[in-house]
């Protein structure tokens, strides 16, 4: 569960005020909005990467407002993957467990398990350079899921992919959600992505949030206009 209780975030010349959001446990939520409307800022606030001015953030019933990112049990997949350039795929997949000082055998087993599941078993010893866009995002998803997070935050994870890869990744994200039951907050401006994945759709328009049927109606109208 992700619960934003009257959150205000202020940036240079930009403010998001009195945000109230609720995403139920296990839901696949898609947050849509135009470029620059503050979607990523909201996701960063959930992860603990962006300080908030007022309000409370609850994740899975815990008040995490004052918790550092590492203790919130969230996984983050940025737009470009932001893979660790000096590490092999295996090291990336094992990173979260290495930080938690898990035994080496367990780390290696988890990295292999994730790699097989995500279809990147043949890439374990490769470094990010030279991986395709789809492969990079699979590594980033695996890295985020390694320590069994409660919440998976995806920041436009498919925006840099070509059309062919895009379809495959939509299926993959659906599988990831079904297999793990993780609560997902997926940010995008792509209507097709939103339609394919969203169990819970939220649209940001002029500082307001449209949810439920209102949001679906808005999405349908925008698609007709396009």
């Amino acid at each position: 569960m992700i619960h934003f209780d009257n959150i205000t975030i202020r940036l240079d010349g930009f403010a998001l005020e009195n945000i109230n959001l609720h995403i139920p446990t296990g839901a696949y939520a898609v947050l849509m909005g135009r470029t620059g409307c503050g979607k990523t800022t909201i996701l960063e606030a959930a992860c603990g990467l962006r300080p908030i001015e007022s309000g409370r953030i609850h994740l899975m019933g815990r008040d995490v407002t004052d918790m550092p990112p590492g203790r919130r049990n969230v996984g983050l997949v940025p737009q470009d993957g932001a893979l660790f350039t000096t590490m092999t795929v295996e090291q990336q997949l094992g990173f979260a467990l290495r930080v938690r000082h898990r035994p080496k055998g367990e780390i290696a087993a988890r990295a292999r398990e994730l790699a097989e599941w995500l279809g990147i078993g043949h890439l374990l010893h490769r470094r990010p350079h030279g991986l395709s866009g789809g492969e990079r995002q699979r590594v980033a998803i695996g890295r985020a899921l390694a320590a069994h997070p409660d919440i998976l935050c995806l920041d436009e994870p498919l925006s840099a992919l070509d059309e062919e890869t895009h379809g495959g990744m939509l299926d993959l994200l659906r599988h990831v959600h079904e297999d793990t039951g993780v609560t997902v907050l997926h940010i995008t401006h792509n209507r097709r992505e939103a339609r394919a994945l969203a169990q819970s759709l939220i649209i940001m328009r002029g500082g307001r949030f449209l949810e439920g049927e209102t949001a679906r109606g808005q999405l349908a109208r925008e698609e007709d206009d396009a």
């Binding site: 960063e44 990112p69 492969e135």
Partner: protein
């Protein structure tokens, strides 16, 4: 081929952020950057640019070649056999190496703070970091001399003597070399995607762990050029060393000092021999650093 049907990106795809980083990291290397094809109609324009550029290139080649032709080999031998000259060579090598290590050691945290943290007075600090670069070297030496006349300076000197002593040589070199190392490291940190660090902290790292485990290994690519430029600046540093550490033979004499002293007594041959040794040592260090950085020379 990936299970999603994805293949490794063909080379004509837009470069990924890491490719961009790599290109930027390779700045200054022949072929780095974005090469455009040449049309026949472009040739007069490009040739005109080439003529302008070649003036400088010819001058560089000229000073290197002139040195090679002017140098008398027996005098080069004397640089290593004569204890006085040998002392300057050894002191130059040792002091430059210490200066380089100190510079990189200070430059890494300074540059990280400057590129990743917002703090009050940051613009002032940024401007201050340019002072050693823009200030005339002699003025830096004079400033150091005055600093160690003040009560805090005098207090430090009770324990370590800086003025007219070897630590003074190192400090004088460090003052200038470190500023260049900081600027180089700042460029290196700026090229590292900050999202990596953010992902690392969501995965359970503290900021310090993210720095050690993710940022620093990647910043190593920038440490080699930072060390190279610090070493080169330290090797050539003359003004601050002259003013702050003096030109005492067999004491605070580094190779630039030797060249100066030999020229003063009209011994151009010996000055050229020492200069040739400096040139050779600098080239060796440059080659070693480039090998360490890229695993290849060019």
């Amino acid at each position: 081929m990936g299970p999603d049907g994805s293949r490794p990106e063909p080379p004509d795809n837009p470069p990924s952020s890491e490719d961009t980083q790599r290109n930027a990291g390779a700045r200054g290397r022949p072929g780095a950057g974005h090469i455009l094809p040449v049309n026949r109609a472009d040739i007069p324009f490009l040739a005109a640019l080439g003529v302008v550029a070649s003036v400088y290139i010819v001058l560089i080649a000229g000073i290197v070649l002139a040195k090679v032709f002017y140098v008398q080999l027996p005098l080069v031998g004397e640089v290593f056999t004569n204890p006085g000259y040998r002392y300057a060579v050894v002191l130059s090598l040792v002091s430059c190496s210490i200066t380089t290590i100190l510079s990189v050691w200070i430059a890494v945290p300074t540059a990280y703070l400057m590129t990743r943290v917002e703090f009050p007075g940051k613009r002032i600090v940024d401007a201050m970091l340019d002072i050693p670069i823009v200030l005339p070297p002699l003025v830096i030496g004079l400033g150091l001399l005055m600093l160690f006349q003040t009560p805090p300076g005098a207090f430090v000197q009770q324990y370590v003597t800086f003025t007219y002593a070897i630590p003074g040589v190192i400090l004088a070199q460090f003052m200038v070399a470190c500023a260049f190392a900081v600027r180089t490291m700042m460029a290196a940190f700026a090229e590292i995607n900050p999202r990596q660090e953010q992902v690392a902290v969501t995965l359970g790292c503290t900021r310090a762990q993210a720095f050690w485990m993710v940022v620093l290994p990647e910043a190593r690519r920038g440490m080699i050029p930072a060390a190279t430029i610090a070493w080169a600046r330290a090797m050539g540093e003359f003004g601050p060393v002259l003013v702050f550490a003096g030109t005492t033979r067999m004491r605070t004499e580094v190779m630039p000092t030797t060249i100066f002293l030999e020229l003063q007594v009209g011994n151009l041959g010996m000055a050229a021999a020492v200069a040739a040794v400096m040139l050779a040592l600098s080239l060796i260090v440059l080659i070693l650093m480039r090998l360490a950085g890229h695993g290849r020379m060019f």
